[in-house]
Amino acid sequence: MRAGVLGELMTPEAMVAAIVGLRARGYRRIDAFSPYPVHGAEEAAEMKRSRIDWIVFPFALAGAGAAYLLQWYCNAFDYPLNVGGRPLHSAPAFIPITFEMGVLTAAIVGLIVYFALTGLPELWSPVFEVEGFERASIDRFWVGVDAGDPRFDRAAVEQALVELGAARVAWAGPRWAP
């Protein structure tokens, strides 16, 4: 979250209830911070499944294909070498490396895409400036609405969070924002 309104809740149940309440009020870009994974929070926020698998899959195929092509190029085309009388283009012998390169490409691309999609590693975030936010990693549960939400209105969100039981409401982000 680059900018938005945050509310502090005391219990995980209140956090899930606040997420449900915010969604019921029409907000869609909701974020939550808790010391541990809270059961039901993802469902309450109706988070969509990441599309990372579909991004990685073509890269895995390309990696495998490139590995096969390289072996063919080296062994059968550029420098034909007779190994024990086997055919120069020996598909069965190329399969282990083809498979391993497919897996390796998928893993590396998966890692890179994961960092790109999540914006990690994030050494500093505006939410860290909010007073008391450090307790999100101890015993408090924070729920926020991103300023990019189509229905975002700072006063309305603050009002909603208070109604949903937030003990404290704070603005995170640049001072000049709405």
Binding site: R49, D53, F57, R86, P92, P96
Partner: protein, 392 residues
């Protein structure tokens, strides 16, 4: 949970259908006994190996579940036990094979194998002889039937009376007997299938046989789960359970491909005359086509289909893939048995008759043994948690 609602009383149609098909198959086999005894026994062995590999795979899955105190498999445990429940019948169905040993296994008549083959087989005579073969088969089947029967009986005893806590017993038996089952299952593949070509050997063979049987057992389990739920039983099964089953299916499709590929690869690259015969037989004429079909049917197609996330959350489609894998496993067993005897024409009408007879009989027998029983292990203390199992 409502006890009455979980008692399985369905399956009338399945029972009638499977008995009718088994009778039809038995009729075909009877005709075959007069027409072509050689094809009859090979067809019967294929069908038998197909059925017994699935029952054995289910037994291993059941035992692993107990040994690991596995969570979600508790909801499908009774269905797994139902597949395992066919083992006593399969032990009985082994008897007809005893009348065909001389037809099936060349090591019973080494004089027909040529000088080199005869020398190789005579050297293995201490192991490959009819009395010892029969004793070993009896041991394998006795071990499987005993373990399967005990696990099922204890599981049902707790359903009848929750005060009888058989959980620790089932776990101890499963953990203790898994090595015995692994060894007997491996040697069964040596005896019943690998010795069809007694001059050839592969140490990867039992792994390949286990991989095929295990993935087929999982596929049958998916089908049974889906059918039971479609029939109104097992309403508590959720998409998370299908997701878990689908992941297992994918994992063991890959495991089968791994075993199959490395068995082939090591033999291919070493290229030793006494080892390559197995694959040379399967790379000639119509068998080359069937080998390619097998690779696509048992690995390539199910792998890419099951790789997706959504398919594992769509029970009808997952069940269709499971049925496909089951058919591919039959082709796999056929591919193991037949090339030695049918170099030109891979299929014979007796194959279908044998499959109907053995498959129909096992289905009817298992279905009968499930009727009137709870369709889930009712009083397993883990059941409520297994039903709540969630995985996204």
């Amino acid at each position: 949970m409502n006890v009455d609602r979980t008692l399985y009383r369905g399956g009338d149609r399945l029972l009638r259908l499977s008995i009718a098909l088994a009778a039809l198959g038995a009729f075909g086999l009877t005709i075959g006994a007069f027409v072509n005894r050689q094809q009859l026994f090979y067809a019967y062995l294929t069908a038998y190996a197909f059925a017994v590999s699935i029952a054995g795979g289910a037994l291993i899955f059941l035992m692993i579940g107990h040994a690991m105190n596995a969570g979600w498999p508790v909801v499908v445990r009774r269905l797994t036990e139902t597949i395992v429940a066919s083992l006593p019948l399969l032990a009985l169905l082994f008897v007809p094979l005893l009348f065909g040993l001389h037809t099936l296994y060349p090591w019973t008549r080494p004089e027909t194998l040529g000088e080199e083959g005869m020398r190789s087989v005579l050297a293995k005579r201490a192991y490959l002889n009819v009395p010892f073969f029969v004793i070993r088969a009896a041991i394998y089947l006795a071990v499987w039937v005993a373990i399967g029967t005990l696990l099922r009986r204890w599981s049902l005893a707790r359903d009848a009376d929750p005060r009888i806590d058989t959980g620790a017993r089932m776990r101890a038996l499963s953990a203790g007997a898994l090595p015995a089952v692994a060894i007997t299952f491996s040697f069964a593949s040596f005896d019943w299938l690998m010795s069809l070509t007694p001059t050839w050997f592969s140490t990867m063979y039992p792994v390949y046989w286990f991989a095929g049987g295990f993935v087929a057992a999982l596929a049958l389990l998916v089908l049974l789960t889906f059918e039971a739920q479609a029939g109104g039983w097992l309403p508590e099964i959720s998409l998370s359970h299908y997701y878990a089953l689908g992941r297992m299916l994918l994992a063991f499709v890959i495991f089968w491909a791994y075993a199959a590929y490395f068995q082939f690869f090591l033999i291919w690259i070493a290229n030793r005359p006494d080892e390559v015969t197995f694959f040379a037989d399967r790379a000639r004429g119509p068998w080359l086509t069937l080998s390619v079909v097998l690779i696509v049917a048992q690995f390539v197609a199910p792998f890419f289909i099951l790789l997706g996330y959504r398919i594992k959350h769509r029970p009808p489609q997952l069940a269709a893939v499971a049925a496909w894998i089951l058919a591919a496993h039959y082709l796999d067993v056929h591919w193991l048995v037949m090339p030695a005897v049918r170099p030109r024409a891979p299929f014979h009408w007796l194959d279908l008759a044998a499959l109907l007879a053995v498959g129909g009989a096992c289905t009817a027998f298992s279905a009968t043994r499930l009727r009137g029983r709870p369709i889930v292990p009712l009083h397993d203390p883990e059941l409520p948690r297994a039903l709540r199992y969630e995985s996204r």
